[in-house]
């Protein structure tokens, strides 16, 4: 399974990559903001995206809206902070499938990924 991590923080990407690797995922690509992600989705063709909300150049919400114009099915998990929790509904309307609030533990991230993939698998089936 191909997973795209979109986050301007290298540390966060490293954490997410580590959790995903522990879960057995090895095809992982990284993007440092929404713009970078837009340039990579075509060639990489992810099966899951983890997208941070606040990023320079193109924030997560804008990216999700643009991405959904060309891809309606690939599941997206939004990574938010407590202060952005109130805007989660807006993100879900934009096409986000699940979200995880920072700070999160590796277990929580792992659980969210499992949930999201299970749901996506069920709806695809």
């Amino acid at each position: 399974m191909k997973i795209l991590l979109v986050d301007d923080s290298k540390t966060m990407r490293k954490i997410q990559r580590s959790v995903l690797t522990q879960l057995g995922h090895t095809e992982i690509e990284e993007a440092c903001d929404g713009q970078d992600a837009m340039s990579k989705v075509g060639a990489f063709g992810p099966d899951l995206l983890l997208v941070d909300w606040n990023m320079p150049n193109m924030d997560g919400l804008t990216f999700v809206k643009k991405y959904r114009e060309m891809n309606k099915d690939t599941p997206i998990i939004m990574v938010t902070t407590e202060s952005e929790r109130s805007r989660v509904v807006e993100a879900i309307k934009a096409g986000v499938n699940n979200y995880v609030v920072k700070p999160f533990t590796p277990d929580v991230l792992s659980q969210r990924i499992d949930e999201t993939l299970t749901k996506a698998g069920a709806s695809a089936g």
Binding site: M12, S18, V19, E82, K102, P103, T105, P106, D107
Partner: protein, 496 residues
């Protein structure tokens, strides 16, 4: 114009090798007397075989005479055909596998100066599937002929007489491929890739270090500072000096090893040696010594046997059932033998013991920072939220590592309980100065003990000595000063 006879005017000569025939027309010869027929007659008289080509050359000569009447003319009118010799069948090695150039290469490197003499290579190694050489087929020759019609025989092409075994294969295009890993050898027309490397001389500056993927046999000695590494066994028939020997299976040292505290042996399986002196290393399985083991630091994973020999000085770690002639020396040489502990495990244990506190300290530090941030959880900035996530990740990672270390330690203990034996038989004598470490106990012998005796741990884990003549079992503390490991050097003798 000359008025002589045609014979005087036309002269045919044949070179001494009979490869050319020359016609000479004398100066002043009457052109009317220089006819083609007379010229051909002169050549025939000189035993030249007249061919169509000669006929043309003579006609051309006659034309030249008529064009320049009276001039002396000399022309080669016939040329013999030299023989084309056959080309022998030959074997051309790929440069890196060519054993025939080794001697020259070694000489060049030795005389070149500045080389790493220890890394000189005196053999060619091939791996399975390597293209090592090509057989070029013989090309047959063609006979030649002199101007007088004699045949010049061409040398016939000789076959190579190449002899092969199963270790190499010749493909349809003549390429020779190694069928396994080994040393490329080409001796008296026989090409093979030998799975055993035989070093007929000493391993020294003439050979360089030896590294081989199969078995190695050294017929003479291994000199100071040289290394022999083999994926399979190593057998050394001569003496091993302060060298390093690493064997993937067995190590046989027929004449022993005198290493002056600089020698190393590493054998994944068994070691057999006449004697070992000042050697460090490990033996994966069993170790059999004919005579003494002197000042060595060796771990033996399986049985240790030196029934007619002795362990004198040094520190031997014996993991399996052991049988030795004598322990220590009459001069009370400080000799330590650890029984029933797997040396490699001790190293791992030490690493775990060092690592655990470091990880725990790191965990405490991370948890402390995490707690501070957690107190203000509702009002954290975006950066602090990220830091919190990072800290939680670190906590999780460190906890996971600590769990793995704990599991590893438990596995080490289980494996040691399963595989290690605390069982030593001493045939003749245990001398003062000997220290035995067994289980959690350390026994120091201050007086001599006569053998044969067997030292082991009894059912309750206490060290005991069994007199193998009378069959009497006694507490080891009756024959030696015994202390528990933790209290060694602090509290004195073990409590009864």
């Amino acid at each position: 114009m000359s008025t002589g006879s045609p014979e005087d005017s036309i002269k045919a000569t044949v070179s001494s090798d009979k490869m050319t025939a020359t016609l000479s027309i004398a100066a002043g010869a009457d052109p009317a007397m220089i006819t083609k027929q007379l010229c051909l007659t002169a050549l025939t008289d000189a035993n030249v075989m007249v061919t169509h080509e000669i006929d043309g050359a003579v006609a051309s000569l006659v034309e030249a005479v008529n064009a320049s009447p009276g001039e002396a003319i000399e022309r080669v009118v016939a040329t013999g055909l030299p023989p084309v010799h056959g080309e022998d069948e030959r074997l051309v090695f790929e440069e890196e596998f060519d054993p025939t150039t080794l001697e020259e290469e070694m000489h060049e490197r030795e005389s070149g100066g500045g080389s790493d003499f220890y890394s000189l290579v005196s053999y060619r190694l091939a791996n399975e599937g390597d293209l090592i050489a090509k057989v070029h087929p013989a090309v047959s020759g063609q006979d030649g002929m002199t101007v007088t019609g004699d045949t010049l025989a061409a040398k016939s092409a000789k076959p190579l007489g190449l002899s092969l075994d199963d270790s190499v294969m010749v493909k349809g295009d003549g390429t020779v491929v190694a069928m396994g890993d080994g040393v490329v050898q080409y001796v008296k027309g026989k090409l093979s890739v030998l799975p055993q490397l035989t070093v007929d001389e000493n391993v020294d500056f003439s050979t360089g270090n030896i590294e081989f993927d199969g078995d190695v046999l050294v017929k003479k000695s291994v000199k100071d500072c040289f290394e022999v590494t083999a994926a399979r066994s190593i057998t050394v028939q001569g003496l091993v000096e302060a060298a390093t020997l690493r064997s993937g299976t067995d190590l046989i040292l027929a004449s022993g090893m005198a290493a002056r505290e600089k020698g190393v042996i590493e054998a994944e399986r068994d070691v057999k040696a006449r004697y070992l002196d000042s050697v460090a290393g490990f033996v994966g399985r069993h170790c059999e010594i004919d005579k003494e083991v002197v000042n060595c630091e060796i771990s033996v994973g399986g049985r240790f046997s030196a029934e007619r020999g002795a362990i004198i000085g040094g520190h031997m770690r014996l993991c399996g059932v052991s049988d030795v002639g004598a322990l220590g020396s009459e001069m009370s040489a400080k000799t330590t033998v650890t029984l029933g502990r797997i040396a490699g495990f001790d190293v791992l244990r030490e690493q775990i013991e060092e690592l655990s506190p470091n990880l725990e300290a790191a965990l405490e530090k991370v948890q402390s920072e995490h707690e501070m941030l957690d107190q203000n959880k509702g009002g954290l900035t975006a950066d602090q939220n990220e830091r919190m996530t990072e800290l939680q990740f670190k906590v999780s990672s460190i906890q996971s590592l600590l769990k793995r270390l704990e599991a590893a330690q438990a596995k080490l203990n289980d494996a040691e309980d399963q595989f290690a034996e605390t069982d030593l038989t001493v045939q003749s004598r245990i001398h003062p100065g000997v220290t035995l470490r067994l289980g959690e106990y350390i026994a120091e012998f201050e007086t001599s003990v006569k053998g044969p005796v067997r030292i082991t741990l009894n059912a309750s884990g206490r060290p005991v000595m069994v007199d193998l003549v009378g069959g009497v079992e006694t507490d080891l503390r009756e024959r030696a000063r015994v202390v528990e490991r933790e209290s060694h050097g602090k509290t004195g003798s073990m409590a009864a």
